[in-house]
């Protein structure tokens, strides 16, 4: 460690975390003022022209309105057919390659030596000063050590312990839903259940659980990173509050354990029990990064799959009928929902050396975006790829969890949550009718919904 690193480490270990973030914020603001760096104008939504009216070189999938305007399907279809490894030189996020076919995505995802996940897995760059360290955006060996320290919290063995609690909380939410009148499914079900899950994983104060969702939305919604709508000053304030809350949580947990309380199944207990992470609170960027990764990883993904499933079954009513007639199809349907929705549209990589991908020459340093949302609709791998088929035979091979070293570690938790949700829904309701248009979030990364009006019909007593 050189002197500067040592100083940084000492400061990080001794100055309260939220003060450090506040300091960073002030520094960044002052720097912007001094150097006159002004942020580009926010994204303004304009109608996206039909894909056949656009030159191939002008196609820019980083447009954060692609999903909202429903243009992503024809645009990706054209790229897969005409330019499966496609270069866009002039996006707001700089030049990048789009990888759109299933097989090419698998090739890139598997080869972490040629295609590095560092420094970020989103197309843009998070606000300066907020580059928290997440292992999803690290290469081995650092990735492996950090992931191993936290993956136990969502490993199947731990989930077995938590299944009863998860089901209880799902039932509680469903039993309190309005019946025969429209309500917003996203807020009442998807966000609420996700917030409860995150609070359970972190043993976070239950009544403050929506804060976890708020922080996670802020982090994933940065304009510079994903074309979202989070304001940078708001992000800094959010991260400061989050740092304070998580630090308090850490110390409170340590005190309770020291006083003789049995450690729980939550993430903080696990980190404190692990030799390599028991002092993690003294490495703030890493500490915050790991917690942020967990809440971001468990937030948009599950939430939008919970909404996407309702939407899909309404768009494909024959499948809904098939499901009601045979609830044993639920586990398979869960994989199909995750494929069809693809709640995170991509992961990004950077080439570590010159290479060739499906005939295209990729230079060292080039940015590549693996569009899972496109690969999951690739007719070369999935029959009738745009159809929602609850008993699709190869649904489990979807790309939504990624493949290789960075494969989603929360995959089993996601499947468990969705399975329980649908089991309990079918037990209670005859119909979940979509009664209005969904609203889509502004992002090139999160393929999600901010609202979906639905109406429930209770099951006749049998």
């Amino acid at each position: 460690m050189d002197t500067l690193d040592r100083v940084v480490a000492t400061v990080q270990a001794n100055v309260p975390m939220e003060r450090q973030i506040q300091g960073l914020h002030l520094y960044q603001k002052a720097k912007a003022r001094l150097l006159g760096t002004s942020r580009p104008a926010p994204f303004a939504e304009e109608p996206i022209p039909p894909v056949d009216q656009v030159g191939l070189a002008d196609i820019d999938m980083s447009n954060p309105f692609m999903f909202r305007q429903g243009q992503w399907m024809p645009y990706f279809a054209r790229l897969r057919d005409e330019a499966p490894v496609h270069f866009q030189a002039n996006s707001r996020f700089g030049p990048y390659w789009s990888v759109t076919r299933y097989d090419d995505i698998l090739t890139v995802d598997k080869d972490h030596e040629t295609f590095s996940a560092e420094p970020f897995i989103v197309i843009g760059t998070p606000p300066p000063g907020l580059e928290v360290e997440m292992f999803i955006a690290m290469d081995p060996p650092r990735h492996d050590q950090q992931r191993q320290a936290v993956q136990g919290v969502v490993a199947p063995k731990n989930l077995k312990e938590m299944e009863g609690l998860i089901r209880e909380r799902v039932c509680d939410v469903l039993d309190n839903l309005p019946v025969d009148e429209p309500f917003n499914w996203v807020d009442r079900v998807s966000v609420e259940l996700t917030a409860r899950m995150l609070a359970t994983l972190l043993d976070f104060p239950y009544e403050e659980r929506r804060k976890l969702v708020y922080w996670s939305d802020l982090a994933a919604g940065s304009e510079e990173a994903t074309g979202g709508t989070s304001d940078t000053d708001e992000i800094f304030r959010g991260v400061r509050d989050m740092a304070r809350a998580f630090t308090d949580l850490w110390h409170a947990k340590a005190a309770r354990t020291a006083a003789g309380e049995a450690p729980g199944f939550d993430l903080i207990s696990m980190l404190q029990a692990n030799e390599s992470t028991k002092d993690l609170v003294k490495r703030p960027m890493e500490f915050l990064g790991n917690l942020t990764l967990l809440i971001v990883g468990g937030n948009d993904t599950t939430r939008n799959s919970m909404t996407g499933g309702v939407l899909a079954l309404n768009q494909f009513p024959d499948e809904f009928a098939k499901l009601k007639a045979n609830p044993s199809l639920i586990p398979g349907m869960v994989s199909e929902i995750i494929r069809w929705q693809t709640p995170l549209a991509y992961m990004r990589r950077v080439a570590t050396k010159d290479t060739v991908l499906n005939g295209q020459f990729i230079r060292k340093g080039d940015k590549l975006v693996m569009w899972y949302a496109s690969g999951n609709r690739d007719g070369r791998h999935f029959d009738r790829p745009d159809d929602f088929i609850i008993d699709r035979s190869n649904a489990r091979s979807h790309l939504s969890f990624g493949f290789g070293l960075h494969r989603c570690m929360g995959n089993r938790l996601a499947e468990l949550q969705l399975r329980i949700l649908w089991e309990e829904l079918l037990a209670r309701f005859d119909d979940i009718e979509v009664v209005g248009e969904p609203e889509h979030v502004q992002s090139n990364f999160v393929k999600g919904y901010s609202s979906l009006p639905v109406k429930l019909t209770r099951k006749a007593a049998s």
Binding site: L106, D109, K110, P140, D144, R147, Q148, Q151, G152, A155, P156, K157, N394, R396, S397, F401, F403, G404, L405, R407, M409, N411, R412
Partner: protein
């Protein structure tokens, strides 16, 4: 006919025909052996076809290659003779091969 044997976590024996040239994962899937997912289809990229080779067969299977080794390292239930079954290519001399299934696939 040569066969391969899967022992489930609960101790149940499941026998399947050995098909030369196929992977052990493929044989498991084709014979609906419970406890093998094989999500990535045989690319050593998901780790959901994890098996533990029986001690008696430990020396007779090849060693994991780099990609497989890395996926195994991520698995907290990894044991000394753990393999991804998609990376075990079946040949005649593996007739009678016995592998144990873990409690969970990750």
């Amino acid at each position: 006919m040569a066969t391969v044997n899967f022992v489930t976590f609960d101790g149940e024996q499941v026998e399947a025909p050995l098909v030369e040239g196929q992977s052990l994962m493929q044989v498991a899937i084709d014979n609906a052996v419970p406890g093998i997912d094989g999500d990535c289809g045989g690319e050593a990229a998901c780790g959901t076809c994890h098996v533990v080779v029986d001690q008696q067969w430990a020396g007779r299977c090849s060693e994991p290659a780099d990609a497989e080794e890395q996926m195994l390292e991520m698995n907290p239930d990894r044991q000394a003779t753990s393999r991804l079954s998609c990376q075990i290519a079946l040949s005649d001399d593996l007739g009678g091969l016995t592998v144990h299934l873990p409690e969970f696939q990750f």
